[in-house]
Symmetry: C2
Subunit: 310 residues, 2 copies
């Protein structure tokens, strides 16, 4: 049973109520709290030593990553983060300087993004460090972008470059908060999420929520320099395209807009964010699942990537 | 370095802003969100296998405890809980039925208290189960009770009976949500918190926040039947009074009111909550720290309890 199956099984019968605009299955919970113009966003995200980071990382990077992951989920809905609580679970013997470094990394990012850290707790996790962030934010009701909403014919975009994040980017990435808000302010974004598990898998969440399929164009996928380099230098490495589709931890934005808006959006993006690549990687179809097209034609893409031709 | 020292050190330089009514150092963060009558309450609490529960507990109790602890913090401010996110960190091999039992315990309590579970995540914690709850709630601005506010001469009250919680109560306790709201609605409660680490230690948080001291009357401390029984049956057990002062995990309310209100409050309480004991255990003084008085006179009480006379 994988994570998604387990969550589906556990959350099938959860108590809910009318204040819940979006709950399980979106990047954040979206809550109606009685304000005319805004919804409250609510999100938690945890990183675990040996799973999401190792002690060879510098502690500032660990703190940065923990908060940045949660911020990326607020970005995915075009929201603005405001308040965080930190849960820090530590072995009984810990290095105070290391823990202070983790906090420095979090505080620095929080200050830069105007997020108030309003408390939290330390508790004991005897075998390893676990760091969980609970985050609040706001989103304008008419600018909130969800996973549901992709329409047949939509152009599919991704920001940045994909693959090879574990070589370093996963500890240093900047959540795409400004970019997501700019998109929602200036265009009718039909659906959006952040890429955490790889394009091949994550795109399925938008497709499932929206009841559509997708065609991806292999040559349009923006492959990171790291993924290309790794494929050249290590014989055991994934082919670069496969790395870009499945490596995960990209924390870029994945979104869809009407194809009529696509060129205008690309032009405006280049002026607004000249340093950050934006790529149209395919289109939404009336099918199911994801198809990958290259010079040899279309083939089905699953969560683990494509099947190699013999 | 203990938990309180570490939190103080880590949170000394946290970024904050004008929307934060109360942050680090209260039972919940209290946030101004632009509603005329209400503040938002925000809290996280984690329980860890081998620290807060063992696998010999039934899974429903573990789920109940995890959520009840967070609810108890909302109760401590006379608030009403509304929405929760669940972080479930699990070893890679886990018993699905056990995890479903944990969720059943949480869902049952959430439904009974009208709390919507709006999502969360599962992640890997290779060595043990860790369960963290992020909780939102509301409190009327004119009814919010904090740790700060105790005044010299106040009567100090505790609900229920103290000590011996680890024998079973810690897995089954009911957060005092109704009782706390009733108190705030009907009386001017000067300060309040929930008892998680034991009266001897927890009372200090109110004293420190309020800049006052306290005299406790030993004979007035409500000692649980379990603590008395344990002291009788096990030669190594704590004396019952010491257990009531230091065992922790009581999850009862500790609050102070003007002494002029004390008798009226006790009478009204008996009518409203005839099954739940309410005890006046002492008074707030202009001193510092906690003094315990018994038939042998006053003696200082520290976090670990009192010093035995030779």
């Amino acid at each position: 049973m994988n994570e998604f199956d387990l969550i589906a099984r556990l959350t099938g019968a959860l108590p809910t109520d009318a204040s819940v605009v979006a709950g399980v299955g979106d990047d954040c919970a979206v809550l109606e709290v009685g304000l005319p113009d805004r919804w409250l966003l609510f999100k938690t995200d945890a990183v675990v030593e040996g799973v999401h980071f190792t002690l060879s990382a510098n502690p500032e990077q660990i703190g940065h990553k923990a908060l940045a992951r949660a911020l990326s989920d607020i970005a995915a809905m075009a929201g603005t983060p405001t308040h965080a609580l930190i849960t820090l679970a530590l072995p009984e013997k810990f290095d105070v300087a290391f823990v202070e470094g983790i906090y420095r990394g979090m505080n620095s990012l929080a200050a830069r993004r105007s997020v108030s850290i309003v408390g939290g707790e330390t508790t004991t996790n005897p075998d390893r460090i676990l760091l969980s962030i609970a985050l609040l934010g706001w989103v304008a009701k008419d600018k909130c972008v969800r996973r549901v909403g992709a329409k047949v014919g939509d152009a599919i975009f991704v920001t940045g470059e994909l693959g090879g994040s574990l070589a370093g980017k996963h500890l240093e990435f900047e959540p795409r908060l400004d970019e997501a808000r700019w998109l929602a302010r200036n265009f009718s974004i039909h659906s959006m999420m952040d890429l955490s598990d790889g394009l091949a898998g994550d795109l399925r969440h938008i497709l499932k929520a929206s009841g559509v399929g997708a065609d991806l164009l292999a040559t349009a996928i923006p492959i990171s320099h790291t993924a290309k380099l790794s494929a050249r230098e290590k014989s055991a490495a994934k082919p670069p395209l496969l790395a870009a589709l499945t490596d995960g931890e990209d924390f870029e934005l994945l979104f869809t807009v009407a194809s009529a808006d696509a060129v205008l959006l690309l032009d405006a993006w280049k002026k607004e964010f000249p340093k950050l690549k934006l790529s149209c990687v395919g289109k939404i179809t009336s099918g199911t699942g994801v198809t990958l097209r290259d010079h040899r034609g279309p083939r089905p893409l699953n969560v683990q990537g494509y099947t190699h031709f013999a």
